[in-house]
Structures are given as C-alpha cells and as structure tokens.
Symmetry: none
Subunit: 452 residues, 2 copies
C-alpha cells in the first residue's frame, strides 16, 4: 500500500488540475442544447479510463452514452463494480453562484463547480484511486469494472435495460457507489439503508363539468372534498399510516440500531432552522433520524382541483387530483403496499364519484447488513482514509439503480459518500471539500486491498 | 302592449347580433389583466342605454365602474330598479369549451359564450324590453332605473357603498333582477330565496422551500397533508358541517315549504344525468331541492400544492392552498359563520405549520314573501311571456346585492330568471336558450305594465 499512497500524495496537485478539466465540461443531461457537452464528458471519462489501463467502451443509448470500463487482470480475485454518473444538474439560478458554475474555483479548501460533489468529483476519486494503484504497482489487487452513466439527473431511464442486458458482463462480488454524503466534516459515513417508494396519482371525478357551487352545491359530491377526506384518513393524529397491514412487514428498529442513530452527532435545531419550520413533526415515538431513515411515510406530493388562480371562483370542481407516495422500509413490499393502498382508497371513496388510481413507479427499500464482510472492508478502508471509523447512516431517499443492481447482480452494495450534507448538490455554489477529496482517493485505494 | 310586442318581434335578429357584440367582450372582473376589457363592457352598456333614451352615468369606483341609467318620464307612476352585472366569470378551463368562450356561437337553439346566461344575456333582455317600449310607444309605463355593475363575480365590493351613498337616487317601489334560472325548459319560475355565502382562501405554509420527500419526508409536517386533514374534518359522514354552532341559526323548513318543494316537477334522474354523476349526494335527511335551496353547505372550490404536472416528482410541498366557501341559509349570519370557521380551522391546524386565512367575500341569505303584490305582478308577467304560470323556486346561489338592496332600499325584489339550470353558468360551454331570451324580453315588457 505504501507505494500506492505515495503515488496518491505525489499526484495531489495534478489530480486537482485534472478534476478541474472534468468539471469545466457543462454536461447538463437535462438540457438538449448541451447534448454535445454531455458526450464530451463521456469521452473525457472514457479516455481517462483508457489512459490508466482499462478496456473501455462508450455504449450508445437512446439518450446519453454509458461509459463502461474494466480492468480484469486479477484472475481468481474478487471483482468490484463502481457505479457513478458524469452528468450534472442544470446550473440555474446561475446568478446566485459566487464563481461561475463551470469555471472550477478553489476557495476555503473546497473546489466550487457544478458537479463537484454530485457526482463528477466523487467519480474522479475512483478514477484516481485506480490510477494510483496501476501507476505504483502496475496492477490492481482485484478486478475492477466502471459503470459511469450520463442520465442519472434525468431518471437513469436507459441504465436498467443496459444492466439487464449486460448482467453477465457486469457480474461483481461487490458494488461501490460514491453519490451520498458524509454525516459531517470529520465524520466519515457508510450509508447502509435507503427507503423504497411507491408513487401514484389519484384522480377523483365528480360531475362531468365544473358546476356553480351555489346552484348545485349540497346535492352532489364535491371531488375536492372527497379527495381531502380520503387522503386525510390515510394518516392519523399520531402521524401513523392507517392503511390496514401497512406496518405488518416493517422490521422494527433494534435497540442497537436506535442507540447507533441516537449516538450520531445530529443537530436537530440546526436541521429545523435549515428547513425553515417552527417545529418538526412526524410519527409519534420516533426521533427525527428514525423518522427520516427507518420509518415508512405517506406523503401528498401534489394537489390540484377547481379554481386555483388569484381571487375567488364559486366552482364545484368536476375533478380533483393528488400525487401521493409512500416511502418504504424493510421488509415492506412495494407491490403489497400499493395493493393495500388501492384497496383502502377504494373503500374510503363514496359511490357518488369515480376513482382512478395510476401507479407511477416503485422501488424496494434497501438495507445492507453492517456485519457483512464487504461492509466491514469499507469500514476499514474509511478508517484508514479518514483516521477514524465511519458511522453507519441511512438515507430517506431512494436510489433506483441501487435496487436494480441489487436485484440484477445479487451483490452487496457499498454507498461510500465523500460529499458533505451542505455542499449544495443541485443548488448554486456546489462544492467538494478538498481534504475529503484527497482522503476519498486514499479510502478507495484502501478499499481495493481490503476487499481482497 | 301590442305595439311593444310587435316591436320586439321585429327586432329578433338584430337583438341577437347586438347580444353577440356584448358577449364578445371578455369582461372577466377577477382577472387584473382584463381591466380594460371590463371597462369596455361598461362603456358598451352605457352607450346602449344612452341610445335608447336613458340618462346615463358611468360611475368610477376603486374597482370596475358601475353603469347607472334612468328614464323618469312617468311622474306619479311607480319606479322599478333593474339590477344586473356586465362582468363574467373566468373562462378556465378554456380547452373544455366546444366553441371559444368569447366568440358567441349559436347551436341547437342556444347562444354559447361566457356570460350568455350569467349575466350579460339576461341583462340584455331588460335593455331590449325598455328599448321596445321606448321605440313603440315613445315612453315607458313606469319610471325605470338601471344599476349594472362590473364586480358581481368578485363580490360586488364597491356596489354596496354606492347604494348607500345614492340610496335616495336609487329609491324604487320594486327591484327586478334576472340572474337566476327557470325551473326547467317550459317551466318559468320566480325565485323567492337565495343562499348567502362566505368565501375564503386557506394557505398552509410548511418548510421554506419544497423539499425532497425522501430525504426529509416523515420529519416535517407536509402542508398538503395538513390541509387535507383540516378540510376533511369540517364535514362528517352524513354530509353535515362540523363547525361548532354552524347550524344554530338555521331556520328549519316548514312543513308547507317542504310540501311545496316536493310538489315541483323536479326530475331527479334527469338532474343526475345532466350533471354526469352516478349518484347524487348530500346532507342526510333532505331532498335534493332542500339540499340545494334551503340547507347550508361547505365546499372546497380549489386546491393547489406541490407538483401537479405530468409524471411524478418526489416533492414535499412548501405550501398548500385551498379556496373554500360556505353557503348560508336564513338566519345564518356570515360574520358569525366565518368567525366560527376560522376558529375551527385554527384549532385543527398543528403548530408545525403556519396558517393564513384570507376572507374574500360574503353575503347574507334572503327570502321573499310569495303573496307580496310585486311578486304577484311578476307572476302575471311571466304567465303572459311564457303562456303558463311560474312556480316559486329558490336558488342555492348567492346574489350579494339582493341583501344589500333589501336592507338599503326597503323595496321588494323580484328574481325573474331566464336561464336554464343546465346552461353552465361558471363552467365551460355556458349558454342561453334563445327561445327563453326572446320570451324574456316579452315578459319584462309585460312586467312594466303589470307593476303600474
């Protein structure tokens, strides 16, 4: 390892210049006008992988290309698959940036640019770790595959078909992804849980057209009122979801898990203030971290009915619509939950309106055992890289590709993030702490060794 | 009368063209961008009144102008005050119109346009009746005053101060308003009761910005869910409003009133089918007519929160908005009801969100004795115009000025409507039956004579 760490140390200044070159490419996948720039970022990654010694393929898709690279010179050794994305969020509102989003600038020990944290900077950590090994030792201690896409910020629509088609080629003993965050500066973290989700749209149709609420009101069901009454009855006063069976398969938090959550240096007051609310709220009997990471939820994501403009209109709406989603935790099954949801909504709906429920997407919750050998290897690598053991955290969100890779490759997944929670992914002044960037490269270099 | 009726008959085609010109003006009083168009409609009315021989004044207000016209050439004779409005509801949702809302189109014996029934078409009936008398006889059989405002659809906020200020000038022996509906085609009606209303907007503010529903969901109150829970709790399973004290001052229907309602040729099946619902719905223990005319309601008029576009977005909305209204019946007091509503909503709102309630407009319920001489004159005029006696009906809607005129002028008010219940006032494809339009002109011409 010493030679590898020396190579990393010697390369610090050069690595930064290379990262700047990568960040300068405005690879905004959601902007059709930037299609050429997105491809330029793919080419940049592919050339980099080729230069350090990987076999590389730029795979065309109906959208932006997928870069696939591999180094398979360690027969008999384990195989690690790295997933990341080279595309970035739009830079709007651009006038809120202190320095231009695509002119990487170093200030206060961080590199500021769109994509610095999400996810180019973190992808580059992996490229540099592999480069250091190959330069210092002429080999990697394991087989390494890179799967770096260009559509993560627009839904990864072409990735899952690719994974299904190339499942054999992508086969790995572990998967590593750096697209999450540390708990805080100086607090390295391994994310071991994601919530699942089911998302659907509920449409309540009443009269054929909007009606005068005076002339007709009182004699016909109001779809907006009906929808509110249905949605209201799906949760109770204690913040619990009332759908029968909803909690049946929720794996209770163990005492050890609750203790571990409670031990994390989470500043509830700062969190509340950052959200701009006078009080936090949620399921009775659980802490804020438990509510976000390990408890299922029911959320109304959107509501629309009747007159919503300025002023007043005395309309009895013909229809009312809600977008709703439920976040799921182990061992809830998205299919069972959506069935129970539908049955409940249908039961709560009066016969005087017509109900339509449209299922939109879903993904399973994901939990990685903390005692898994791959998890433990990551713990050791992070401990070496940061000089202190990581904490286990979870994320309340869902990363669809994690579920897809779990199901298709049957491999453990390591979510090792080097970003910080306040580094403005998706917002102006996105940045990546440089100390975390360099420690990240060392951590991943250690991970290769620890996984063997 | 013969000469007047002949003049009306000779003018049928011309009257339609004039009406079309009036309907083409998009005088949407609730849309600040249409301020100029609203004024254009006022000018159109004023010029028309001037042309037929009235003294006219366009009265400026802080909002849209009031058109006042009078013909006082019958000293010693009674004075009739006609009230109407030249403003219209917004045309949304505009894509649901068969023909454009401001391009009047004749189909199947009706004229389709926003304002055809509510209220431009009915206002124009009165202009034409006066025009016919003045053209055929050079005089009217009574003194006639026109009070035609441009803010009826936004609460008539500037009309009441005007009525108070000009009470002496507006003095009349009776008031006639055509802004209601007949019972059905071939069933002329005199409306002797109106519900009152209070209307307001409820805004629930949660976090400072929209949040990711995965990362944050479960730890912070969702304003959309909160709003649904509040609104849902304002009515119960039996269709009753649960606001404490809401029914305290509701005057119960007498046995005679319930019998009179029941005797009306109201076709519940046709009504249900016209509305396009599989079942009617409403307060338990009351008939459909009782629910519409003589029972108070709570309605959600609009809902908006979070993501409402195509597809899905996992957003926890920063805010949620509802437009709501309550229809009132004698002897409910709008002020007391809105106070009770606000207190209830505040009580139901959790401390983790911020609530704002904006009062928008209100009016008292109204009831007219059926044996009043003016009522009986209207019965005779309708009988002549339509060839059969009218029935006494009520309207579930609210005409704020009726209460104000009742209180300020101490005159009986005649609500003689020429619209039909299914003519989509406030909805797409609003229209006015042309046979009723022409019979309406004759009826009002008769009314002038019957009132003397």
């Amino acid at each position: 390892m010493d030679s590898v760490l020396k190579a990393i140390a010697a390369d610090r200044a050069a690595a930064l210049e290379e990262l700047k070159a990568f960040l300068r490419i405005p690879s905004v996948s959601g902007d059709p006008a930037r299609r050429g720039e997105v491809r330029r970022a793919a080419t940049w990654v592919a050339e980099y992988l080729g230069r350090i010694g990987c076999r590389v393929e730029v795979v065309e898709t109906p959208g932006h290309p997928i870069v696939y690279g591999e180094w398979t010179g360690a027969p008999g050794r384990p195989t690690l698959l790295m997933y990341g994305h080279y595309d970035v969020q739009p830079e709007d509102p651009v006038h809120e940036w202190t320095s231009p989003p695509f002119e990487p600038t170093i200030r206060d020990g961080a590199i500021y640019a769109r994509g610095a944290a999400d996810d180019k900077g973190q992808v580059f950590v992996h490229l540099k770790a592999a480069a250091a090994w190959l330069k210092a030792e002429g080999r990697l201690p394991l087989n390494l595959k890179f799967l770096i896409e260009g559509e993560e910020e627009v839904g990864s629509v072409n990735l899952e078909p690719f994974v299904v088609e190339r499942a054999e080629r992508l086969k790995a003993d572990a998967v590593v992804i750096s697209d999450t965050a540390m708990l805080a500066k100086g607090a390295p973290a391994l994310c071991v849980g994601l919530r699942g989700i089911v998302y659907c749209q509920v449409d309540v149709q009443g009269p054929a057209t909007d009606l005068h609420s005076g002339t007709f009101g009182g004699s016909v069901a109001n779809p907006a009122t009906v929808l509110c009454r249905i949605l209201a009855r799906l949760t109770d006063e204690r913040g619990r979801v009332t759908i029968p069976g909803f909690y049946d398969e929720v794996r209770p938090l163990t005492a050890a898990e609750r203790e571990a959550f409670a031990a994390l240096p989470f500043d509830e007051k700062a969190y509340r203030e950052a959200l701009g609310v006078s009080a936090l709220d949620g399921e009775a009997g659980f802490t804020t971290l438990e509510r976000r990471w390990a408890r299922p939820t029911f959320e109304v994501n959107g509501l629309l009915a009747g007159f919503t403009g300025v002023g007043s209109k005395t309309v009895l709406p013909a229809r009312a619509m809600a977008k709703v989603s439920m976040r799921l935790v182990p061992d809830q099954d998205p299919e069972k939950i959506i069935e129970a949801f539908e049955a409940t909504v249908r039961r709560l709906c009066p016969p005087s309106v017509t109900l339509r429920i449209t299922r939109m997407h879903g993904s399973r919750p994901w939990l990685m055992p903390t005692d898994h050998p791959a998890t433990q290897a990551a713990v050791r690598a992070l401990t070496r890289g940061f000089g202190r053991p990581p904490v286990f955290i979870r994320s309340g969100g869902s990363i669809p590709i994690v579920t897809a890779l779990t199901e298709r490759l049957a491999a453990p997944i390591l979510l090792i993030g080097f970003g910080l929670p306040d580094e403005n992914a998706h917002a102006p002044d996105e940045r990546l702490d440089l100390d975390n960037f360099h420690r990240g490269i060392e951590t991943i270099a250690h991970l290769y060794a620890e996984l063997t």
